[in-house]
Symmetry: C2
Subunit: 480 residues, 2 copies
């Protein structure tokens, strides 16, 4: 388990990540190339993410449903840009029940076409609108180069699919869900994402407008952490999603879709993790507190364990997610390393001295060493732990925000820009370039536009590339 020493981030960030997610029992490879098994510890994290998002979806009026994983291949072809975007990544079923199928079936890479088909059947009049449906599932996109959580042939996510009577309602929905993702990422995961609009080139295949939340990893590469698409009437026209309006006239709907996936787990690992392992935000950590009992013999054990059990019960009663590590054949030191690797926010040590003094030792995962260690009274312990968890949560967000802001640089011209990108930073620049300019920059520097941030400076300025008047600022970065 944790006797293995991780490669330091500074030495090989990629190696650090790949080793960590397996060593910390988040995930493993499946037998089919590029597939992933999310192990129980990783899945518990995903369940907490699901809960945090699902309650926000329901609070904004959405309901869940279950759509099939199979799509007739012909469906994808109904929306021209959509099929162009997804064709290279499809897994195709050609045999069913021992027989060659008349029409090949695709395993869903995303479900806009299924929703389009169903909504065309379900929606009759303006009274049926809006339709606000989400689903939790897994999707398949065949990938040649794979990386656990970040790029696998199958991944888990949620995909929302909504239909509306007007463009304005669809746009409001698209932006609302972006805000939901932002709120979740910042306040639950302590990942300070930046909200923005994607460029033409980076837009979802079939969308009129794509919004994104972009996160900065500790290697300063960008991670697209969630997207929300205004699909205009593209899918409504392709699938005949129509409704009778109040004047009894037939109109096409306006649709949206939005998704947030297990890739975000990779994003959390790379936002908060350090050379000792994971650092999980308290609000999402499967275990918020691990108690390590310390004793040398049965006599000490019989003093320590009743206190451990009492404190455990008090924490459970206060809804603190607590784990007691009572493994018999491992040293406390081994256990400390093991739980550091797994990123548990607070470690509580209880030994015979603590029992006699009525104290415990608390160690913060986000602050290794003496600085993060405190000795506190068992009286009022639960509320102290709750306060500490909030402090850690806030500290993770502040640290990540400072890190992010320290690595976004203003680029006033292309020379400056190239230096910034070459140094691994993000470039913040006024932009009036064309799609072709954007592609050229990608070829020359490896950086892509991450987004036009929703928070824009006032006024206009010179485009960093073309020196034309630019109305907007864009963020460029190398990205996962």
């Amino acid at each position: 388990m944790s006797e293995y020493k991780l490669t330091p981030q500074s030495e090989d960030f990629n190696e650090w990540f790949n080793t960590l997610v397996q060593r910390a029992d988040l995930a493993d490879y499946g037998p089919v190339r590029g597939t992933m098994i999310i192990k129980p510890y990783g899945w518990a994290l995903w369940e907490n993410i699901q809960q945090g998002l699902d309650k926000r979806f329901k609070a904004t009026g959405h309901v869940n449903a279950g759509f099939p994983m199979f799509i007739p291949k012909s469906f994808l072809e109904k929306e021209a840009k959509h099929v162009e975007g997804f064709s290279p990544e499809l897994a195709v079923v050609t045999i069913g029940g021992g027989e060659e199928l008349a029409e090949p079936i695709v395993v869903r890479p995303t479900s806009e076409t299924l929703a389009g088909h169903a909504y065309a059947n379900w929606i009759k009049s303006y009274r049926d609108l809006p339709v606000l449906i989400n689903q939790w599932n897994s999707v398949v996109r065949w990938e040649l180069r794979t990386k656990l959580f970040l790029r696998t042939a199958e991944f888990w996510w949620q995909e929302g699919h909504t239909a509306h009577a007007t463009y304005e309602e669809a746009e409001t929905e698209t932006r609302q869900m972006l805000d939901v993702y932002h709120d979740f990422a910042v306040n639950e995961a302590a990942v300070p994402v930046i909200r923005g609009r994607k460029s033409n080139i980076e837009r979802f295949a079939g969308a009129d407008q794509t919004y994104t939340i972009e996160a900065m990893m500790k290697d300063r590469k960008a991670l697209q952490a969630g997207t929300s698409h205004n699909l205009g009437q593209n899918f409504a026209r392709a699938f005949d999603i129509q409704y009778l309006d109040r004047n009894n006239e037939l109109q096409h709907c306006w649709t949206t879709s939005w998704g947030f996936s297990t890739r975000f787990i990779g994003g959390m690992v790379m936002t908060h993790g350090d050379d000792k392992g994971l650092v999980l935000p308290p609000r999402l950590a499967p275990f918020q507190v691990v108690i390590v009992p310390i004793y040398k013999n049965d006599d000490e054990k019989s003093q320590v364990m009743p206190v451990v059990q009492r404190i455990q019960a008090e924490l459970v009663a206060a809804d603190v997610r607590v784990k007691v590590d009572n493994r018999e054949d491992l040293t406390p030191g081994f256990k400390f390393n093991d739980w550091e690797l797994r990123g548990v926010p607070v470690r509580m040590e209880i030994g015979p001295k603590d029992v006699s003094k009525g104290t415990v030792a608390l160690a913060r995962r986000d602050m290794p060493g003496k600085e993060g260690k405190s000795f506190v009274s068992q009286a009022g312990l639960t509320s102290q732990v709750q306060t500490l968890l909030k402090t850690i949560q806030a500290n993770l967000l502040e640290t990540a925000t400072q890190f992010r802001d320290a690595h976004i640089q203003d680029a006033r011209n292309y020379d400056e820009f190239k230096q910034i990108i070459a140094a691994g930073e993000w470039g913040d620049c006024w932009w009036a370039g064309s799609d072709a300019d954007e592609k050229r920059i990608k070829e020359e520097t490896g950086a892509t536009t991450r987004c036009f941030p929703l928070a824009q400076p006032e006024g206009t300025s010179q485009c960093m590339l073309t020196a034309q008047t630019a109305n907007e600022v864009v963020l460029f970065a190398k990205a996962y």
Copy 2:
């Protein structure tokens, strides 16, 4: 919506079911033949089922994980009976990312082989045991004749996969999970299932022993509602799942698997439903109470709605799942029918007279007409509603149990048996027949053994077919 009249159960049970599940917005067909869309109302029911089961799984020490949907075809072939059982139903992916695959991939029909492969990697020593993992997913079994919820090409379920050091532990786990299913079905769904052991013929492909819960539908056909398998060392040997025991000797593990699917939703529909539609058990119903406000004009509406909103808030605060039907362009009568179709346990009507008298009208879904209607005070309403929901839950279970017991008949010989089966009843009989005898009975009568109930009478008696001494009683029935 509900203006459509259902075919009565007595006229055509099959037609009643097929129409109802679509009309009540539980499910619809997907575009690929045999696939199902579970609509939001049906999915909300499934989410409540998931919660009820998941908390029981966690309380018995299980954790969730996510396994891939793809299995190398060769994996299935490692366990001889398993491949024989599942081969005819497979969906096979032969193309990935535009290229023909070197080895075909199967979309999981069940995941024993994936668990086997992973556990062989993960388990090293007795310290790693038991492994107690569950997953919520969907699986694919190609079906020629499909029926929503009961038999579709894809369905949702949970599948537990556990590994143990001894046969006894595996058997204890298998039986424990059967008891979990039984407890859930009886106490949450009011479906009085019978626990028992499957015959050799009806056993899961690859299991040493299969246990089942069997339910009786209102057409008296049996529905296998959940199964729990002791897999012995079959998969451990096929996949080399081995551990070092305390003496440092290598041993094969003993494994189990157990599953419970969306087919159970069909079972609930056919256990409780009537000619007016669904009858949902309060503990699982997406809405436990629907409030229909009654008014003829704006003046009455302004009197009624504040009371409706106050009562809604009180019920929500007490965790009662309540829906206010404030649709403007529909009559109360239409709404009554609509919610009866959808099986909401309690309808609350509030009109101007109720406002002035401080009362509401309550109507029980399980007791249509005047008998189920009461007029109660708004004072203490929440606790009255909670009591009523418990009464309805208990009444559904009692009614279904009485129905079940009234339709299980003792068959002392084959002539009696044939009459019982021809009359559509279940035959309860002493049995010492062979596998061949069982097959012959299926051919001659259409009935199969459902299970050897765990609750057995004392002693021995004559086998109903062979007249040999039989040690056990078996249940025969026609089944879905």
